[in-house]
Amino acid sequence: MTSLYSAAARRTDSRPAVVPPVRPSGGSWPTVRLVRHLLPYWRRLLTAGLAAAGSELAAAALMATASWLITRAAQQPPLASVSLAIVAVRALALGRGALRYGDRLLGHDGVLRAVAGFRTRVYEALVPLAPAGTPAFRSGDLLTRLVDDVDAAQDLLLRILLPTAAAAAVCVAATATASMLLPEAGLVLGVLLFVAVLLVPTTVLAVARRTGRAQAALRAELAAHVVDLSEGAADLAAYGAQGRAAARARLAAARIARLERRRALTTSLASAVLMLFQGAALVAVVWSALGSHADGELPAVHLTVLAVLSLVAFEALAPLPAAAFRLAEVRARAGRLADLFDTPAPVVEPAAAVALVVDGPVGVHIRDLTVRHRTCDAPALDGLSLHLPAGQRTVLLGASGSGKSTLISALMRFVDYEGGSIEVAGRELRDCAGHEVRRVITGMTQDAHVFHATIRANLLLARPDAGDTELRDAARRARILEWIESLPDGFDTCLGPDGTEPSGGQRTRLLLARALLADPPVLVLDEPTEGLDPDAAADVLADILDATRNRTTLLVTHEREGLTGADQVVTIERGRVRAGAAGEGRAAGAPVDR
């Protein structure tokens, strides 16, 4: 199911805008929008809410019934008239623990189901944005934060909405009971509860917002100093500047501590205010009940029950300050998620896609291609024309920022182009469905990911139906088969933090094997040697060119060693192919000027 927001946003999206300026704070009421995402699970959540309310009600009822029992017993009636209360007290006492247990299990189960569904929705919202539509894919930290933000849904339900629902149930029940016993006491209690419920969270949110901004700024400052201290440790030591940098970090830490100490004065107010309200309610309820009792309108038994009701009703509100603090934090996370759902896809899929059928070797004609990452930016590709001949290997050289990776993204339909054309097998790419384009043009992107899974699963991703022979063949051509077979578990070795961590070169070769296994008509390889030392880079490049013989290949790199096997070497500069360099053909021996 696609999100309402992204669908709406896509309709209004105009073609040239790839990443529009993101509105701050996720629009209004981001928390409400988050709740709306969770609404499909209302049945389970309602059950969880009822269980939470039931368990809190049982606790309140236990105290109220016990106080009724004791006051009634003091009137020394026959045993039979209090026996029901005795049974009720015992049952509530026994049942309260069980109810609480069930409430917590039901609550967690319902919430986790809702969160599971929400994760799928976030994933679906992210699909059209990967990789060019959101900065998250360019920064590991942003990505981690995004995934962390998704758990805001869990916090919202488990720590905010369920406790609030339970508190509300107790408040309503207490007020209703009090009103039945003595209307004016019920009114006083209800009004005070209502004011407290409104006032305490509002104050907490205001305080949190005020101090939150200052705190976020100080934290960012500390984080910057810490990054400098840790990642620049060697530079600092070599230049004798470590003491100064450490002093700056200490200063930032001291300022955070000062702010937190000052903040404590206000953040601790909420619980105290709640207790003041409790005291006011107790005094007011008891005083009005005393008056009625003196007038003979209120039985003495009800007097005690009213006093107890005013106490337990406010005790049920105790989790509210913590929930309100949590809400302030959830708001920020929900805002970022709302922004994500609002982000339009960088590529507009054609309303009626033409089929892209490729049979045999195929070339790619790129003419006057213009791509802008943002409407206001200078074009990343500025009238680039290039022909990738069928069955030939083209190497694209260029400085960082020259537009090499943008070209690959445009070819794979990860970014849209505002001018020019890309033609494959007589079709304009823009008129074809993105997933069909990527069946024809794919390979190794710059952000290619090694999944936390077995080597086999990582490779099969490219072609799920590949057999063992094909798998081994791809690995052999990427010159990684030997390493894989040297591992105790071979292809079933799990990669990742708790498995085997491949070295930079091995990782590159695994990704290459995956791209070769995919076996697309047009193979693109974006900076496959990024992060390798020059020797290894030259070896890998030579191996790649060897493995892609007779295949339409576009290899983007800035290395100039190991390219002797290329059919065509083209240099890209400021979004265009360097004049006179396009189609210069194979320069035998030394294709690149060094």
Partner: protein
């Protein structure tokens, strides 16, 4: 209390004070509760007996509640301040641990963890300091106070409380012991399932590239569901302890209330006493019940404290980067050679030494290129000269004096280092160039930038030399960053240069500019350059191959006399004209004017 908690108490006086204060405040709060309960019971009993109740009684009640509110506020403020002070103290100690470390050593890997702890990680201590510790202190004080008052009021009810109260910790411990192992096993599975979503999202571009995004959408749901089922299995066990605590506590209320009611029926108890007992009994159990939840929430904080101490302990032996100030200053490296005598370096936890019996003598003014495959030990050799790693065998000497005996800061003041990926600090461009000489004037900074061919792009930045560089110097290309690092080295004007492939991974234009700046910097200085397959190779007097931690070939293509001439020139401090070297490799460089574009 776990050992790590005891250690926190031992090492942080602020926490000891905090626990003491919490206990005191909890006692005061318990006394106020007793007063409140007694007052309320009095009012209700008086009204029940038909006595007129003056407003003074409810007003006193309100006053007591207000006092409790004030006390609660003070307790929270003090607790949050204790948390702020605790984090501040630990941040200070962790900051000391962020010294230089050779790449790929455990210490370097610890850096990321330390950085996370310093920023967000330590916040996990908040629930521990503001929640668990005060609750623990209250659990030691409040039940005792309440029980004493119950004994004074009605000993038979007090007896019931005294008998059932210990059941809570006993049952809690029993259930805890039973569940601990099962949950520990589950947590690992949970962590793995929980990581799946991040893994898939991080790999989304790859999934799209191979048309697998729809298949994975189903997997996301399936894995989240598996995560839920595993979580629920854990929670069913984990919540058992709270079930037991809750049941014991509420059951005790019934155990007290029902006999009290029956005694009231028989007339052997007055209502006032009965109400005091009823209101006070739950208060005895409250802190013990709260302890379960507080422990649950603070477990993360305890884990963080463990991490902190692991890092602090690991750094204990390293002695910090500064070195002792007592050590002698180093000899003048412009006149004496730097030598490695049979040096071995073995990183902890590695079987194979990074350097294995390396001997090398570097004459003043000499330019040595280190070549060899990655991982051969070239960077370790530079780290050795920088004093970031110490030889596990052999010696590094400066004019015959052991480097280990020299003042590290004084020695490093004679070095300028340009790493492969220089770090740009969150400061202005000018301050980044000033790294080694914070008091340098603006004119000197500009001159250094000019020398490094960095002036043109710096002036093109929005605020010129005042432009703030964000995290990792965002917005600058690798070549520009490299030139800023060279400007740093120019400004520092140190006699010895250590350059780690300054031109690797650069595009041709940047490489030409960086090469030209580097060559200019090398003039008149001793230079050791890791220069494998880069354009700097032709400028070396000697090329040394490092392979497998050993020096393979030491080739000096020049006649011996040239070396001594250069030495003399360096000793005079006059800049050398390297006519011969510019003859040897000029074809790689564009004409000087081409670089300034």
């Amino acid at each position: 209390m776990k050992p790590v908690e005891r250690r926190l108490m031992r090492e942080l006086p602020v926490l000891r004070r905090h626990v003491g204060r919490s206990a005191g405040l909890a006692f005061l709060a318990a006394v106020l509760v007793v007063v409140q309960v007694t007052l309320l019971a009095g009012v209700l009993a008086d009204a029940f007996a038909g006595h007129p109740v003056a407003f003074a009684a409810p007003a006193a009640l309100g006053g007591v509640v207000a006092l409790r509110a004030l006390l609660g506020w003070a307790r929270d403020v003090l607790a949050q301040r204790a948390a702020a002070d605790t984090k501040h103290a630990l941040r200070g100690r962790l900051t000391d641990r962020l010294g230089p470390a050779a790449p790929s050593t455990p210490a370097a890997r610890r850096h990321g963890e330390t950085a996370t702890l310093l920023t967000r990680g330590l916040d996990a201590l908040d629930p521990y300091v503001t929640g668990a510790l005060p609750t623990m202190a209250a659990a030691g004080v409040v039940p005792l106070t309440v029980v004493v008052w119950l004994f004074v009021t009605d000993w038979s009810s007090a007896l019931i409380v005294v008998v059932t109260l210990p059941l809570i910790p006993v049952f809690g411990a029993l259930v805890g012991m039973h569940t601990a192992r099962r949950t520990a096993r589950q947590w690992r599975l949970l962590a793995r399932l929980g990581g799946h979503f991040l893994d898939v999202v991080a790999g989304l571009p790859t999934l799209r590239a191979f048309g697998r995004e729809d298949y994975q959408a189903r997997r996301v749901g399936e894995m989240a569901d598996a995560h839920r089922r595993a979580t629920m299995r854990t929670l069913r066990v984990a919540f058992l302890s709270s079930f037991v605590l809750e049941t014991v506590a509420t059951l005790s209320v019934a155990l007290v209330a029902v006999p009290v009611g029956l005694r009231l029926l028989g007339g052997s108890l007055d209502l006032r006493t009965a109400l005091v007992v009823l209101f006070l009994t739950p208060e005895a159990y409250l802190p013990l019940r709260a302890m379960g939840a507080a422990f649950h929430e603070s477990s993360e904080g305890v884990t963080v404290a463990e991490q902190v101490f692991t890092i602090l302990d690991e750094g204990e032996g390293e002695g910090g980067a500064g070195g002792a100030g007592e050590r002698p200053a180093s000899p003048d490296v412009r006149t004496v050679p730097v030598s490695l005598h049979d040096v071995c370096v073995t990183y902890p936890g590695r079987a194979v030494p990074a350097l294995d019996g390396v001997s090398l003598q570097v004459q003043p003014g000499e330019h040595i290129a280190l070549v060899g495959p990655s991982g051969a030990g070239k960077s370790t050799l530079l780290a050795l000269l920088l004093g970031f790693v110490e030889p596990s065998a052999g010696r590094v000497t400066v004019g015959g004096t052991d480097l280990a005996g020299l003042d590290a800061d004084d020695w490093r003041a004679r070095l300028a280092w340009v790493p492969q990926r220089p770090h740009l600090f969150a400061a202005s461009v000018a301050d980044n160039i000033r790294l080694g000489r914070p008091d340098a004037s603006d004119a000197e900074v500009r001159q250094a930038a000019r020398d490094a061919y960095a002036d043109h792009f710096v002036e093109a930045l929005p605020q010129g030399y005042d432009t703030l560089l964000g995290e990792h110097g965002a917005g600058l290309s690798a070549g520009q960053r490299q030139r800023l690092a060279l400007a740093r080295a120019f400004l520092k004007d140190a006699p010895v240069l250590l350059l780690d492939e300054p031109t690797a991974h650069l595009d041709p234009e940047s490489e030409a500019a960086v090469t030209r700046a580097t060559v200019r910097l090398m003039r008149g200085r001793t230079a050791i350059v890791v220069a494998h397959r880069t354009s700097l190779l032709p400028y070396a007097d000697r090329v040394v191959t490092v392979r497998g931690g050993r020096l393979e070939t030491v080739a000096d293509p020049r006649p011996a006399t040239v070396g001594s001439e250069r030495t003399q020139a360096a000793a005079d401090g006059r800049p050398q004209t390297r006519a011969n070297s510019s003859l040897r490799a000029p074809r790689l460089l564009p004409p000087e004017g081409a670089l300034t574009s």
